[in-house]
Structure formats: structure tokens, C-alpha cells
Symmetry: C2
Subunit: 340 residues, 2 copies
């Protein structure tokens, strides 16, 4: 046999009909096919190396067993990990995952979905605005890392807890003057981080917070950090929205002649490769991106089966490395609340 065997070939080999093959191989034979026949079918299928034709099945069933993962970019290691987690779970259920990078600046108009829209059963969307998917009404969707108040089921990180833990850590080291190196990207997670940080700092007696916004790249973050470190009463701790921004903070510190962590503590968020590559290594909150993808795919699969999955929040974990240390007593002893 030169070409791939079909269910008809299996039927012939097992001496049964095509329907019986379908029943047995689809696992729906209990009480409908005799065990002996079922065994014969399974044996024949294995012998011939039979694998069902997905196109035929899709056509018949009206579903493609393919879901689309929409991410801002695949170039950030974070989203690569989301994909891997999602694809792992999908594969266990016989689903494939097609990734679609959707850059922030692309509107629904120039959507890259034109083609694939037809060929998917559902959408997993990560770190997108709620209305970005407006063209997809009717397609089941699960939102990752975005506003849990949305209609669709969501899976997010507990960024609020993450920020709280960072502030606790820094406050415990004696820091009271905080700077927030904030992402200017309009995404739920960054809004949430900003709010959580402000709340956490407000809960520390005598603590202050100043904030500068920057794009998610090293150069821009450096400029913003420079501003943060410029004035009198400069922060003794810089809380960054993201590890990449921390790299900018490091550069600004060096430019100002500040040594980390002696003169300045810096924290990140995400714990990507960068965190361990920096010198000193970065204290940050580890966000399990692959678990985000896996949990999201799990929810989407449930949704496709008619269930109504609830929303979920995955905890981050503080990883203390070398970039945080005791607040230098008397460092930059200008205005701003004093403390012992």
C-alpha cells in the first residue's frame, strides 16, 4: 500500500464495516461492538499504521480541532513560553495551536486573521485589549493576562500580590522612598501593577512613591529612570514593571554613579532570562508563563465542550537575588519623610 491507509482499509483488513472502525477508534463502542471485534479493529489499525484524516473529520464534524493563540509578539520569551504551555495541553486533547502575533499598533482592520478565521474552533488571546477581538463575535475565546472583568473567561497572574510582596520585601529592608518605573503600554496588567504598587506603598507608614512612564525597552526605560533618580530626595528603591525596564534602571544607576544594591535597590517583574544575566542579578517576581498558557488552553477546551469555566488567577513568586539590599541610612538625606 503506497498511500496512507483510510478507515476503509482498516475495515477491510479487520473484516468489518467502516462504521464499526469509526466507532471503535472513536472510543464509542462500549455496548455497541463486541470486544472481540473491537480488538480486531484496533489490531488492524495498528498494523496498517492508520491515522484518521483530520480534514475529513473536520469537514464532517464542522470543527477543526485547531485553536488560535493571539499574542502581541512571539519575540518576547514570555509569549514563547505561553505558546509552549498552551500547545502542550492542546496536544493532549488532539488539538493544534496556530500562533498569531498581533502587534500592539495593529487595529482590527489590518487583522492578520483574514485567512485563519475560518479554520479555528476557538481563540486564546494573551495580553490584548478586550475590544481587540471585536471582529470575532461568535468564536469562543479565553483571555489571558487581561482584565478579569471582561465577559470572556480569563486567566491572569496575581500581579497585585506580586507587587505587595515586592513592597513588603523592600519595606523590610528599610526603604521608604519608592520610584515606579512604569510601562506606558496600555494593557490591563500594567494598570493593575500600577494600582497595586500605589496601594501597597500607601500601606507603609511614611512611604512615598514617584512614577515615570516609559516604553518597554532598555533605552527608554533608562531615560525615565534617569529622571526618577535626578531630583533631590531620590528614591532608594526602583520598582520596575518588567525585567527589561530594570535593565534600563541599571544603566541609569551606573550613569548616576549609584551602585546596586548599596545605593539603590531595583526590582523587576516576570523573571525572564534577562534577570539572571544582569549584574547584580535581579530580584523579581517570577510569572509562570507556560502555566498561563496551559491553564488558558484548559479553560478554552472546557468552553468548547459547553462548560462555562470560571476565571483563574495564578500566583507569582518573589525571587530574591542581588539587586535589593538595605536602604542606606542617610543616603540622599534631603526632604521626603525621615525615618530611622
Amino acid at each position: 500500500m503506497t498511500s496512507r491507509p483510510t478507515s476503509r482499509d482498516v475495515a477491510k483488513a479487520a473484516g468489518v464495516s467502516q462504521s464499526t472502525v469509526s466507532l471503535v477508534l472513536g472510543g464509542k463502542w462500549s455496548g455497541r461492538v463486541s470486544p472481540a471485534t473491537a480488538a480486531a479493529v484496533q489490531d488492524a489499525a495498528e498494523r496498517l499504521g492508520y491515522r484518521p484524516n483530520r480534514a475529513a473529520r473536520s469537514l464532517r464534524l464542522g470543527s477543526t480541532r485547531t485553536v488560535m493563540l493571539v499574542v502581541p509578539t512571539l519575540t518576547a520569551p514570555f509569549f514563547g513560553a505561553v505558546y509552549e504551555g498552551a500547545a502542550r495541553v492542546a496536544a493532549q486533547h488532539g488539538f493544534g495551536v496556530v500562533a498569531y502575533p498581533w502587534p500592539e499598533h495593529a487595529g482590527p482592520a489590518d487583522s492578520p486573521f483574514a485567512a485563519p478565521h475560518e479554520a479555528i474552533d476557538g481563540i486564546l488571546a494573551s495580553s490584548l485589549a478586550e475590544d481587540a477581538l471585536s471582529g470575532f463575535a461568535g468564536t469562543p475565546v479565553v483571555m489571558l493576562d487581561s482584565d478579569p472583568a471582561a465577559e470572556a473567561p480569563t486567566v491572569v497572574f496575581g500581579v497585585e500580590d506580586g507587587m505587595r510582596v515586592i513592597v513588603d520585601h523592600l519595606a523590610g529592608l528599610g526603604h521608604r522612598r519608592f520610584g515606579h518605573l512604569a510601562s506606558s503600554i496600555d494593557q490591563w496588567t500594567f494598570h493593575a501593577r500600577g494600582r497595586a504598587l500605589a496601594d501597597a506603598v500607601a500601606a507603609v507608614p511614611g512611604a512615598t512613591l514617584v512614577r515615570e512612564d516609559a516604553a518597554l525597552d532598555v533605552a527608554d526605560a533608562k531615560d525615565a529612570a534617569l529622571r526618577l533618580l535626578g531630583g533631590p530626595g531620590r528614591p532608594t528603591a526602583l520598582v520596575c514593571d518588567d525585567d527589561v525596564m530594570s535593565a534600563g534602571a541599571y544603566k541609569a544607576a551606573r550613569a548616576r554613579g549609584l551602585e546596586i544594591p548599596r545605593d539603590l535597590s531595583v526590582t523587576g517583574f516576570d523573571d525572564v532570562l534577562l534577570a539572571a544575566a544582569l549584574e547584580p542579578e535581579l530580584t523579581t517576581v517570577r510569572l509562570p508563563a507556560d502555566e498561563l498558557g496551559a491553564a488558558g488552553m484548559d479553560a478554552l477546551l472546557r468552553l468548547l465542550e459547553g462548560e462555562r469555566p470560571g476565571s483563574l488567577s495564578l500566583p507569582g513568586e518573589l525571587v530574591v537575588r542581588g539587586s535589593t539590599g538595605p536602604a542606606a541610612v542617610g543616603a540622599a538625606p534631603v526632604h521626603g519623610p525621615l525615618h530611622g
Copy 2:
């Protein structure tokens, strides 16, 4: 009409047969359908928002218009860029791309391909050993970033030129004692880099080269760099196989009290995010990963059309930043060839 329109619906709306719709929409109507009829069909299709059902087309045609991209990991930003380049070109031809991360340690046995094998037309494999795809005899394949001597068409980077340019740059700065921080990963590109570096150094009169191997992570690279910098007559320039390894070299330098680039020059390879995040910023060779993906997909698409695409080499580009500088005269003036 509540469900998606089919070609039959379009036919009815345009007052023609299904065959005519297929001919017109498939662009095969020149001289077979009158322009007026064709226009009517196109109009009806647009009005109804008709989009062909891919499953049905796949079943009929026996091809899925889906290709698989196999990469070692999607967590490295490099491979994310390869995917984006490949997916862009594929989309222009109505093809989808499914990514499959295939970790180095996974043998053909525990291949994740079990399921998707059936549903793809071709394979784009990046940075894999030639025999990794042995289970896929018969499926058209294009190899990326791997041995051009393979049977399959390949697209690679001109790593030899890249190494040569690095050595020229360093030699021009007066360096003669080179250290090679080499990747221990068994991939063509690293073997090629190693050979090219050795050749280039051999072409510099009076130059020497020592080598240490390490895994592609910061900590392991640091240890190897420490060994390289340990002995007498230590290298004045460290050539790293990869930007990540350079981060390890930086740490080793600091641990040894060497300042970059005053006491030690360091170069990377790839030019990923990390290169600009390090302090000082890294001199490295930029490898256009998205172009690799795009060129590879282009070749694969040709292959699927029956052409026989040739192999291709994409040039890298030296990006000089702050990590390289003049060799300190008299630095570590021990044995090893002397020079003015």
C-alpha cells in the same frame, strides 16, 4: 442566513452553478467563464461574505495548506522571530504555520509530531540535527540554520563571514590573544562558528586561540569564562558563540576584577535583546532571524510547487558597541606571542 455561506449559496445568489463559483474564485476562469458571469460571482461572494471551507478544500485536494515549523524552543527570542518571518510569508500564500518546539534532548521516539504529522504539507526545521526528522521521509522539508551539505534545501547564516569580521575587528584593535567561549550544543551552526573562528585567528600573524565549552546559559558560561581568564597569558578578547554566553563572560570579568572593554574585550553573536541590556552594550553580529524564517518558508513553498530551490546563505552584520576596545599594551604580559 445564520450559518456560514457555502459555495452553493454563492452559486444560487449569482444564478450560476457551483463549478462556476469554484472556477471564478479559484482564479482559473480566464477563457472559461465570461467576464460578466465572473463579476457576478465575485460580487455575490463578497456580498455574502463567502470564505471557502478549508477542511473541505483540504479533503478534496489532499493538501492542508499548513506547514510545521520545528524549533528547539520558542522561549528563545531568536526562534520567535523565525516563526514570525515564516508565518508572514506563509500567510501571503494562504498557508498557516504550526510551531512545534522540539527540545534538544527529545529523540525521534518521543516526538510531539504524533498527531500533527497527518495534517501538514511540509516541514520547516530550524537548528536541528539532520537526522532528527528521520521519521518524516516523504514530507517535503527545508532546513534552517543547519548543515548546508544536507540533502534538503537549506537556509543558513553566513556565520563564517561573521566570525571573520569579528576577528578582523578585534585584530584591528590590537588583540592577539583570543579566547573562544564556545557552545557545547551539538548544532551545525556552533561547529561552523568554531571552525571559522579558528581559521580566522590562524590568519592573524602571531595570534593565539584558547577555547572553553559551556552550555548556553549564563551560569555555565561564566564558569567557562572564569577558566579562560584564569591562567597566565590570559586572552585580551573573548569571542562568544552567543549573546547569552557573553553575559556569562561579563560576570566572569567582574569576578576577576577586569573592566570591559579596558582590560578585556567581549563579543557576542545573534544580537538579541540581551546585547543592548548589558553594560557596556555588547559588540555582536546581528543575525536576521525573521529573514531566516521568511526565506525558509519561501523555499518550502517553492518546493511544494515542485520546484527545486537552491540553498541560501544570509549575511550577518557586525554591530560595534561598547564591549570592544583597544588591547591594553602590556596587559598580562606573560608568555604567548609578543607583539607591538
